[in-house]
Point group: C2
Chain length 256, copies 2
């Protein structure tokens, strides 16, 4: 069914692994696609880790993925800032992984909230009031707001957890300012970044993911084929109820 | 000018003290009003401290105020819950002072987020991600949202700081739920609570405060006389530009 597809844009969480567990058959599928000469890019809305951290994690899981086949929102945020706001200073509300990715891209960090041109928000699982207040101060002193993604929740070990939308909400509600840029899927920014890595036109590519709103929507917007996998939180009945229809619905990536 | 006024509703922060400093003449004014037999209630949107903590602080500042003359949003939230939702279990996103005040009123605390009927949010200056996530879980499991107040900022030692609106924004943005009840000024709840303490009808009372939105608006809504003091963040020019007009504008509470 995918004979004329040369590039695959593959979501990570819920598609390739779930929590700390690799999805059964995912490693074989990746190996087979590579043997067939297909190009792959792994696209995730995670913005709190660097590609290096993500690569180490995938390797540890026994997955044959190269660092330059990984695109996170931390990566794309860093590249976006470097490309469009090279002289800007950035204040981060988030974790070290994002700061590492900014450093790789050569983005300047502000040395205090008051000097920031941009506040960049991502998930921060060890957030403190003080950090929240620093981010607030950056915006009160004129920084514009960018977010790696705007997901409301992510699946944690003990159920869903509060995600980047919570961090964004704290800042926008207290400052009265809106978010200027959200980098994450289903944005054109993420689709373009993926197609650039693949070096292929969208009609020769397919998105595989577990989220209608981010993965399938990104594929639809960009003109790629789309396959929804049911290894994440979505069920077949949800797909039938949805107005957006993926080209394929698979029990898992192993079907491919 | 205030001959026929028998009750005074007096704001604390910006009116009686500012940061750790008593406003010049405030202590004398309070003593003189008490000698004249006037009734006083001190009304604050602070929800993260208990009356006991507030009373200790005022006493330390040399102010002649009794504990039962103090009404904080922590107090009024606790009384509101006890009166209207006696059997409800409450989860707190906030500080010990609020929990103390709930205990005084006999409000039941939930032993885990999942069992809460209400999430009660106040300022939390040592907030962590884990606490934010617990609050998120309470709401995801059906708890309704109450906030002691919805102030966006409060004046800290090094400039304005992120206030309760930030904590509320984190929860509403990530859960998609709205706040059900905001207790703080200028609400009728706070006005009624103040009038109950004074035991007087509104036309014999005056509000003195430094905020147009919370103090003066509360007085207007409730039919009390209003005096704005300029010892807080507002300037005389702001008053002239505002559509709400206080009955008096004073340089400070000492004028009285």
């Amino acid at each position: 069914m995918t004979e004329n597809i040369d590039g695959f844009v593959i979501d990570l969480d819920g598609t390739v692994y779930k929590g700390r567990q690799v999805i059964e058959g995912a490693a074989d599928t990746i190996n087979r696609l590579k043997r067939l000469g297909k190009r792959l890019v792994f696209l995730s809305n995670r913005g709190n880790i660097s590609r290096k951290m993500c690569h180490a994690r995938l390797t540890e899981m026994g997955l044959n993925v190269q660092e330059d086949e990984i695109l996170l929102t931390s990566t794309v945020s860093a590249n976006y800032l470097k490309k469009h706001y090279e002289k800007s200073q950035v204040w981060v509300l988030g974790e070290q992984g994002l700061k590492d990715e900014l450093a790789v891209a050569g983005v300047m960090l502000a040395d205090k909230p008051e000097s920031a041109d941009w506040l960049l928000i991502t998930l921060h699982e060890s957030l403190t009031y003080r950090e929240l207040n620093d981010a607030f101060r950056a915006v009160r002193h004129g920084a514009r707001i960018m977010a790696t993604n705007a997901d409301k929740t992510f699946p944690g070990d003990n159920g869903d957890c509060i995600d980047v939308a919570g961090m964004i909400g704290a800042i926008t509600a207290s400052t009265g300012r809106e978010v200027d840029v959200v980098i994450g899927k289903p944005s054109k920014l993420m689709a373009d970044a993926a197609l650039e890595v693949l070096g292929l036109p969208p009609e020769r590519c397919m998105v595989i993911g577990d989220s209608m709103e981010s993965d399938i929507q990104l594929g639809k917007n960009a003109g790629m084929r789309t396959a929804l996998v049911l290894t994440g939180s979505i069920k077949r009945a949800d797909v039938e109820a949805s107005s957006v229809k993926p080209d394929w619905v698979w029990d898992s990536i192993a079907i491919l």
